[in-house]
């Protein structure tokens, strides 16, 4: 019994130790879409005893440095670092959609201008932000039965890109 406990502790420590590298090593120049990345193990932050990196709640499944397999295709900002993706519901509960987070050194207006130009090419409707603040902008996007937001916000010298998708 004690052996199992030690193994479990070691596994947890290894996961915690590896996670920052996994995030840091996420390819900066991903293909320009949200095609699923290489298979990796999603985790529930609450169960792992860590704070979520992407999920809006620690009880939601998240995958760091990669995309969950059922995320709709969406162009990804060139050169952005993928922090990870998450579900918006607890496992085995009603599907609420997904959250995806990237970071980039580029400015908020530059990021949003790129999405405004690129999303319509992929069938998305883009409703631009109502103001052009350099600190934070939020646009509404929609395609078929999916809707959501793209939020770009300046955070300590870099821009955080948060895409939230859900059913209409």
């Amino acid at each position: 019994m004690a052996g199992h406990a030690v193994k479990a502790l070691l596994a947890l420590l290894l996961a915690i130790a590896v996670t920052p590298f996994a995030v840091g090593c996420a390819p900066r120049n991903r293909p320009a879409s949200t095609s699923p990345g290489p298979a990796a193990a999603p985790m529930i932050p609450e169960a792992a005893g860590v704070e979520p990196a992407v999920a809006a709640d620690p009880s939601f499944r998240e995958l760091r440095g990669a995309l969950l397999p059922d995320i709709p295709e969406l162009p990804a900002y060139p050169g952005a670092t993928l922090v990870g993706s998450a579900e918006r519901n607890r496992p085995n509960e009603r599907k609420q959609g997904h959250t995806i987070k990237w970071t980039t050194p580029d400015s908020v207006p530059k990021v949003m201008a790129w999405y405004q130009a690129e999303l319509p090419k992929h069938g998305w409707t883009y409703s631009p932000p109502s103001d052009g603040a350099a600190s934070e902008q939020i646009a509404r996007i929609r395609r078929g039965s999916i809707q959501g937001t793209i939020a770009a916000e300046e955070e300590s010298g870099h821009t955080e890109i948060l895409v939230v998708l859900g059913p209409r």
Partner: protein, 357 residues
């Protein structure tokens, strides 16, 4: 002068889209009634302009600005000037993370310079960051405590970690206790950041073990806690702590025993309503209905794909608070509730002597 007022009224009417919007002017202030308004997360776009015009038309005694004002570097003058051009000057300023340098945006000290301090010496504490105001001035029955827990950047020398033992904790607790000692009936606490939310933000205002600051507010049964930060609207059911089944309000999980009342006719002194009114104009973010804490909130509490900008209107008397959400722009949305002192039951009338029943 009359022309100016007429033009302003016409402009306001146009901005509000004529009579299509559901709002009503508050009752005229008197010694025992007044209305205040509250909202945060404004920016400088058309949504903000619509909200500002709606506030001016509503004519509250003052507007509590719950932080994140223009979101724009050097936007302070334009933001304040817009209010002044409308003729609304009674802004109670409170700093958000986009106003202190924690996140990109304006500078709260410059907002103070351009917007001014309409209540000047009535303010107790450090205006824009940690202070309170009693209202009405002559015979106050409400205290507004406006504070900045969890705010980073330039904090003006204040410690914004409000955990037990800190200066901010002591300031707030003393302001509540002193108000009660003076017989001031209503306690409204305003801050920018969130404790429990079913949108995207996490607890940023009371992060120590035991959540000592927020628990103190709930233990003392302040009537209403106002917040912004989340771009949207949320209202909790009336919640409270108790030593046996809800020593603290869990902010990641739902605890039904922390709920005291789930309807819209609440009893004063039974608990606290937490309201997020980040609807001043910045584009909305998303509800997260999959979060366990969703159940803390009343059913029609926030937005999913609905953007209805506006502000909260609170009509106050010494014994009753009546809240109404006032929409300034966007889709249809309504919310209202009351908090009232319970009146003792009237004794049943005695039958007249000699009257057979």
């Amino acid at each position: 002068m009359r022309t100016s007022i007429a033009v302003r009224l016409l402009t306001t009417t146009l901005l509000l889209g004529g009579s299509a919007l559901a709002w009503a002017p508050p009752p005229a202030d008197s010694a025992d009634t007044f209305t205040f308004a509250a909202a945060g997360d404004f920016a400088l776009g058309g949504n903000f302009q619509a909200t500002a015009a709606a506030v001016q038309a509503h004519a509250p005694a003052f507007l509590i600005t719950l932080g994140d004002l223009s979101y724009t570097v050097d936007g302070e003058r334009a933001w304040c000037q817009y209010w002044q051009d409308l003729g609304f000057k009674n802004l109670l300023l409170l700093a958000g993370n986009h106003d202190t340098g924690e996140s990109l945006g304006g500078n709260i000290d410059k907002y103070l310079k351009h917007c001014g301090n309409p209540f000047d010496k009535r303010i107790v504490g450090t205006y824009t960051r940690q202070y309170y105001l009693d209202y009405p001035f002559e015979a106050p029955f409400a205290r507004f405590i406006l504070i900045t827990p969890g705010i980073g950047g330039d904090t003006g020398g204040l410690d914004t970690d409000y955990r037990e033992g800190s200066a901010g904790f002591k300031f707030t607790a003393a302001a509540i206790d002193e108000a009660r000692t003076r017989g001031i009936k209503w306690i409204v606490v305003g801050m920018h950041k969130n404790y429990v939310s079913t949108m995207e933000k996490k607890n940023e205002v009371s992060v120590d073990t035991g959540q000592t600051f927020f628990t103190m507010l709930l233990n003392k049964k302040v009537d209403v806690i106002l917040q912004a930060h989340e771009h949207g609207y949320e209202r909790t059911k009336q919640v409270t702590t108790n030593p046996s089944t809800c020593p603290t309000l869990p902010f990641k999980t739902f605890q039904s025993t922390c709920i005291v009342d789930s309807d819209d006719a609440l009893v004063k002194g039974a608990g606290t309503v937490i309201q997020v009114i980040g609807t001043g104009g910045k584009d909305m973010r998303n509800l997260e209905p999959g979060k366990p804490v969703y159940k803390y909130f009343v059913e029609r509490f926030a937005y999913q794909d609905v953007e209805a900008f506006g502000f909260g209107s609170f009509a106050m008397t010494p014994t009753r608070l009546a809240f109404t959400y006032v929409r300034s722009r966007g889709a249809a949305f309504a919310d209202s509730y009351t908090i009232s002192e319970t009146t003792p039951p009237q004794p049943a009338p005695h039958p007249a002597p000699g009257l057979d029943r």
